[in-house]
């Protein structure tokens, strides 16, 4: 049987030897920004074999930095990130942003050899201009509470040994050797942990239902089909700390009585796929998976299944159909998967983030978990913060944190002097929050009351240059395209809503369109078969409630207040700036511009097709769209 303590001792001895450790972020974001060449250059510069190499210090001593590749830090926008952790003896962590291969020699010469940070690579606050040396003090991180993401970016995701050295798999060992499955379920029920994938169903109750259900074998499915546009927390977790997800999955399997598991992961996430596969392989080699988990009578094994590109497969019954090799179409519930799931057997379907939180709950206990968040929504939640905000990235905060804290304290506010207009939360199934919701606590109940939802946790910040109707159209186009077509309300309803929204943004709105849109949305919400259809109208309904005047401007005055919708623009010539050069007149494809040389031209609005050619060719900036 595997001895976790021996592994931890060996790793800690290895980590204690080098004077410095250099962590290079190897998440999808930083790789795209070029972290691999930085890592390569660091390897060459330290002439490293196995990441261990020697650098001569000014004092004449030899320094042996250990080079590691880590998972996502969350601040992808500023990548590639390089972190030199503190040594626990007073030397502070150093956090470098936007590192290029050319910076490597300077990092080695000044930071490693002389202990001085390279100032220009440190994080600089865009609002105050202050520089920060370590990540803990940067406002983006200082206002976060990281329970699931605690080791993301601080450890090597591909090293099971390092995971063990950081206390990994000890909770699983305690669970299978000292606790009864029912006790594990009860601990989770007591913690109040709710599913992080969207619906927010209590995790412990789901496990208990599967535990009590008749039927064998039982299955565990980890839902990694994170398809919401603007959400990437599951990807980061699987890439950055795959063993934490796996440990949570094995604990879930033990509690619910499952003997086989599937990790269903999107094909768009190649790095998450390969890291999860490696994690499972390594755990199997150490004997953590297999016939006898930690010498107990509990047997469990699992595999990764690659998705094939269907958003609806994020819905649990559709996902199960997909694992069975069928079209990913949902089926009516009940029976719920916990009673009749994969191949008709009891199946627990849990989201990646839910499973990544399980170890913390078992390790510290339900009471400690309830210390965070609100009474009905305990714990923390990861959010993917994107859109028109200074710092985009992955964050984790206690549930009940306000939107204001997220946008202004963590996200650093809206850039370029623009004004915060709305936050779209929960992707195509969520809704919009406006200025009046800035101080509302974000948790499952409160968001539900205003027609939005936590969803998977994507938050897209919109400023006053974004047209709300256009955003609704964008989400409706997405759900309409992804509707599987099984139930009429979703298939036809989303199509009708999309057509109405297109008419509105293209200036063809009819009287009564808004009422028809609202009525259709309500019908689709009530009568669709699965979560995709039931939540598809949310973006429309929530924006109609908050931004009705903006819709009315489109339908009644044919005017887009944000100036985004091309068909609703009116082009006009500023008589003070027009020199009468006739260039626009010659270029106008429909002859809508009239005027003589050296006299002010004018545009015939009735003829104008709003192609924008005149605006583009005018050398005096006299033509503008309103």
């Amino acid at each position: 049987m595997v001895n976790l303590e021996t592994i931890a001792r060996e790793v800690n001895a290895r980590l204690a030897r080098p004077a410095y450790r250099i962590l290079v972020c190897d998440g999808t974001g930083c790789v795209a920004s070029g972290s691999r060449p930085v890592h390569r250059r660091l390897l060459e510069a330290t002439q490293g074999l196995d990441g261990l190499a020697e650098v001569s210090l000014a004092s004449g001593d030899l320094c042996r930095p250990l080079l590691s590749r880590t998972g996502c830090h969350g601040l992808c926008q500023l990548g590639p990130l390089v972190v030199i952790p503190g040594d626990g003896n007073g030397r502070e962590e150093i956090f470098y942003c936007r590192v290029s291969p050319e910076d490597v020699s300077e990092i080695i010469e000044s930071t490693l050899a002389e202990g001085k940070p390279v100032e220009r690579l440190l994080y600089r606050d865009p609002n105050t201009g202050a520089t920060y040396r370590s990540s803990g003090t940067i406002p983006f991180y200082a206002h976060q509470t990281r329970l699931a993401l605690v080791d993301c970016g601080h450890a090597e995701p591909e090293s099971i040994e390092e995971y063990v050295a950081r206390g990994g798999y000890a909770s699983l060992r305690r669970v299978v050797t000292q606790m009864k499955p029912v006790e594990v379920c009860e601990e989770l029920v007591a913690s109040g942990l709710r599913g992080r994938g969207g619906a927010g169903f209590p995790t412990g109750r789901k496990w208990l239902a599967a535990h009590r259900a008749n039927g064998s074998p039982k299955y565990l499915v980890c839902n990694g089909d994170e398809g919401d546009p603007g959400a990437f927390m599951d990807r980061s977790l699987m890439e950055g700390d795959p063993h934490r997800v796996l440990e949570g999955a094995v604990i879930a399997a033990y509690a619910s009585g499952a003997t086989y598991g599937y990790f269903y992961i999107r094909t768009e996430y190649p790095l998450a796929l390969s890291r999860m596969r490696k994690a499972i392989e390594d755990a199997r080699c150490l004997g953590i998976l297999g016939e006898s988990v930690f010498g107990s009578e509990f047997a469990f094994d699992c595999e990764v299944m690659e998705g094939a590109g269907a958003f609806v497969c994020g819905e649990e019954t559709a996902l199960l159909a997909s694992i069975e090799g069928e079209r990913g179409m949902p089926r009516p519930k009940p029976p719920f998967p916990a009673e009749k799931g994969l191949y008709g057997c009891p199946t627990v379907v849990n989201n990646v983030e839910t499973l990544a939180t399980v170890r913390w709950v078992i390790e510290r206990g339900a009471a400690a978990f309830r210390h965070y968040g609100t009474p009905l929504s305990p714990g923390t939640k990861t959010f993917a913060l994107t859109g028109r905000v200074r710092h985009t990235g992955l964050i984790e905060v206690p549930l009940g944190t306000t939107l204001r804290q997220i946008v202004f304290e963590i996200g650093g506010g809206v850039p370029e002097g623009r004004r915060f207009k709305a936050a779209q939360i929960g992707g195509p199934s969520g809704g919009c929050l406006g200025v009046q919701h800035l101080d509302m606590p974000l948790d499952f109940e409160t968001l539900g009351q205003v027609g939005a939802m936590v969803g998977s946790g994507g938050i897209v910040i919109l400023d006053d240059t974004t047209c709300i109707v256009e955003v609704s159209r964008f989400f409706m186009e997405f759900t309409q395209h992804e509707s599987c077509g099984k139930c009429v309300l979703c298939r036809e309803g989303t199509r009708q809503m999309l057509w109405i929204l297109r008419d509105i943004v293209e200036g063809r709105a009819q009287p009564g369109d808004l009422e028809l849109l609202e009525e259709t949305a309500r019908a689709v919400k009530v009568a669709s078969l699965c979560g995709l259809g039931k939540s598809a109208p949310n973006p429309v309904l929530s924006t109609l409630a908050i931004f009705r005047s903006e819709y009315l401007a489109h339908t009644e005055r044919l005017y887009c207040p944000a100036g985004v919708c091309p068909a609703l623009k009116t082009f006009a010539i500023d008589p003070d700036l027009c020199k009468g050069c006739t260039l626009c007149l010659q270029k106008c494809p429909v002859g809508a511009i009239t005027g003589e040389r050296r006299t002010v031209h004018r545009i015939d609005v009735a003829r104008c097709t709003k192609c924008g050619v005149c605006e583009a060719v005018c050398r005096f900036k006299a033509i503008a769209a309103r």
Binding site: T28, G29, V31, A32, S33, L75, C76, Q77, G79, E226, G227, D228, P229, G230, A231, F232, R235, T267, E268, Y269, P270, M305, E306, G307, A308, G309, A310, F311, S322, E324, G325, E326, R327, G328, A384, T386, G387, R388, T392, G393, L394, Q424, G427, G458, V460, L462, T466, V471, F474, F475, F478, E482, C484
Partner: protein, 170 residues
């Protein structure tokens, strides 16, 4: 590119050698249909019709089921795909950061778009994909397995020029 091809006129046993290997690997288990189709697409870069029929017969399931699955999932293609697959992300963050300009550039440069996704020389395929989860770097494009973030159209143009240069051997 060592890509298998299907000649509808040749004898079955030789023609489907590669497919048989794949079927063997998955124990001819029809529950693994999606994984089998993924393996076939990896080998052929698309799902040729004769192969789909052959799969249905070998797995003992109706052709309708194989076609149903093959046409349901966005990842599968019944048309040949190009050697380089350019995926332009059109998730929310990329959309508001003008991913349309990247699609326009590809259309202008390579003459391929949503309607006609693959170039005649089978070098390039363009796909508009929903979120690939790199929203912090919007707009994003993926060329085969390489992710390009904070991508201006001009930069994508350089990437494509380089690929064309490599292919034409100039």
């Amino acid at each position: 590119m060592g890509c298998a091809s299907v000649d509808t006129g040749s004898t079955r046993s030789r023609q489907f050698l590669k497919v048989n290997e794949i079927l063997q690997r998955f124990n001819r288990d029809s529950r693994r249909l999606i994984a089998i189709l993924q393996a076939v697409q990896d080998a052929y870069r698309y799902l040729p019709q004769p192969v789909l029929n052959y799969l249905a017969t070998s797995l003992g399931i109706p052709r309708a089921r194989v076609y149903g699955v093959a046409t349901f999932y966005a990842h599968f293609s019944l048309e040949p795909k190009g050697k380089y697959i350019i995926r332009i992300c059109d998730g929310t963050a990329c959309h508001v950061n003008h991913s349309q300009a990247l699609l326009d550039l590809v259309s202008e440069k390579l003459g391929i778009d949503q309607e006609k996704p693959t170039s005649d020389d089978l070098l390039f395929t363009v796909e508009r994909v929903s979120c690939i989860g790199a929203c912090g770097l919007a707009p994003v494009a993926v060329v085969n397995d390489l992710v390009y973030g904070q991508l201006a159209p001009a930069k994508l143009g350089e990437v494509l020029d380089e690929l064309i240069r490599v292919e034409k051997g100039i």
